[in-house]
């Protein structure tokens, strides 16, 4: 199952008057069915805001977002979200967390016994796919951060969502665990055929995972540049050292630096150093 996403001139302003924060302006983007798009950009450029707007958790100040041509209004079962953390239910076991959506009316309308069986089969398959078999009856608090994120991903996939939204899902994980999770999520993308929108701080992660990279810039938050990733559909970790990969990484990092205002920070630092030098000169006098 898959779906297209159309972001049509979306705006988001928090607050009113002089204190208003322009989190997003003139965002336009068409995401194709089964595309894997990654969003990068400096902190505060509105990545999370845009993702939450696609999810329906945040309203738009202007413009619209359409899924398969239908404008969205609020969250829906066609769009699943994986949060950075604290979203699992600590009172439920791993299996119960993954099956949580089965308790909701939205997923159990015309429920036949065949459906129930199919759902049980899917939960088992996801538990195996995510390597959670040995902790299926454990509580989230007994799992490492990486394992908890596997559960969160499995829970999001349970209802076969055409669209999977992820906001820095691996931000708190160590480098080795992240690499494992990257290959896992690419595998999911191929198997499930879902459209994936993935927000990250990590440019390498963005290139390795994405078919297309959306670079956002802050103040006001906006979409700055789109990059097509010149890598084959099938990927492996060695590709991170190829010249194309490194060239794109350099280009994107450079652009993030340009748009984030880090340049001025460096100037500040230089000025500060100069002042320290002057002070030192004074005291040695």
């Amino acid at each position: 199952m898959t779906a297209s996403i159309d972001i049509r001139d979306a705006f988001k302003t928090f607050g009113h008057g002089p204190q208003a924060i322009h989190a997003l302006e003139h965002a336009k983007l068409a995401i194709r069915p089964n595309e894997f798009v990654t969003f990068v950009g400096a902190s505060g450029c509105g990545k999370s805001t845009l993702l939450r707007m696609i999810c329906g958790l945040e309203s738009l100040s202007r413009g619209s977002i359409a899924v398969n041509g239908q404008p969205i209004a609020g969250p829906g079962v066609d769009r699943a979200m994986v949060f950075q953390h604290y979203s699992l239910y600590p009172w439920l076991t791993v299996t119960q967390n993954i099956k949580f959506c089965r308790q909701l009316k939205a997923h159990t309308r015309d429920r036949t016994s065949a459906d129930v069986e199919k759902a049980a089969g899917r939960a088992d398959a996801l538990i195996r796919l995510m390597g959670l078999s040995h902790v299926a009856d454990a509580y989230p608090s007994q799992l490492s951060g990486g394992m908890q994120q596997r559960v969160a991903i499995a829970r999001a996939l349970m209802s076969r969502p055409p669209i999977l939204l992820m906001d820095e899902p691996f931000g708190a994980l160590d480098a080795q665990t992240r690499e494992v999770m990257h290959d896992l999520i690419r595998h999911v993308h191929r198997m499930e055929g879902s459209t994936i929108v993935f927000v990250t701080h990590d440019v390498e992660e963005a290139i390795y995972l994405g078919q297309r990279i959306v670079l956002m810039a802050p103040r006001p938050g906006r979409i700055d540049t789109l990059y097509d990733v010149p890598l084959p559909a099938e990927r492996h970790q060695d590709m991170k050292l190829t010249p194309e990969f490194l060239a794109l990484k350099r280009e994107i990092l450079e652009r993030i630096r340009e748009t984030s205002g880090m340049k001025t920070d460096l100037e500040q630092l230089a000025r500060l150093n100069a002042d320290v030098g002057a002070d030192a000169a004074l005291t040695t006098d």
Partner: protein, 274 residues
Amino acid sequence: MSASKRAGAGGSPLWQIRSAIDPRQYWLLALFGLVAPLVAWLVASHLDGTDKVFLPGPADVLARIWSWATDDDLAADVAISTWRVVAGWALSAAIALPLGLFIGSYRAVQALLEPLTDFIRYMPAVAFIPLVMLWVGIEEGSKVAIIFIGTFFQMVLMVAEDVRRVPLAQIEAAQTMGATRSEILEKVIVPSAKPALLDTLRVTMGWAWTYLVVAELVASNSGLGYAVLKAQRFLQTDKIFAGILLIGLIGLLIDQGFRLVHRKAFPYLAGRHR
């Protein structure tokens, strides 16, 4: 000072912030904490010149509890007092739990009710006694009403806070899975807040006991609080001690009961229980 000894670490595990200690050490310290004041009391009451009316000894108080139990129907006093406290507290809980749930879940309800509750909770429960007598009368209901007034407003605010502490990500995750508002309340907010709610019930039960003496000020002729008040009139210091100790003991037992239920009902919090 050795180089390995940093602030907040090193040294005996007893003095490391939040570090676990040996269970035997824990129980020894707890026992010492309970026995030491008893010994201090024993010594102070046996010093020369200590008047029994001023400070009765532990033996006097025990004897008094014994005679209270055999001649004065202590069991009835305990029963009626426990009934009053539990009834006032249960009435509070029955209203505070749903109300707090709505205050904590809906900003509009919060705006409507929280400032008012905040205002009322600063009013002293004792000062309501004349009003309670006027409105409720001087029957059993008035004692329950005083305990209700003493606990209810605090309880509502604590329940609302427990509900607000449910992580937003847990609620939003359910929304993205298509949960309706009532499903979010029933399947996310309530189960997520349950451990904190049970703690709130435990703490407010303690407060309810502290209002017992106040409640039994109102035209009583039974109960532990009433016994303490009457003993005060006749300067029976040993009975005052006995009453206070018994109230403390019952409170402690109920508190331990709540903790036991907490451990049994929320096994997934194993790390938090000791």
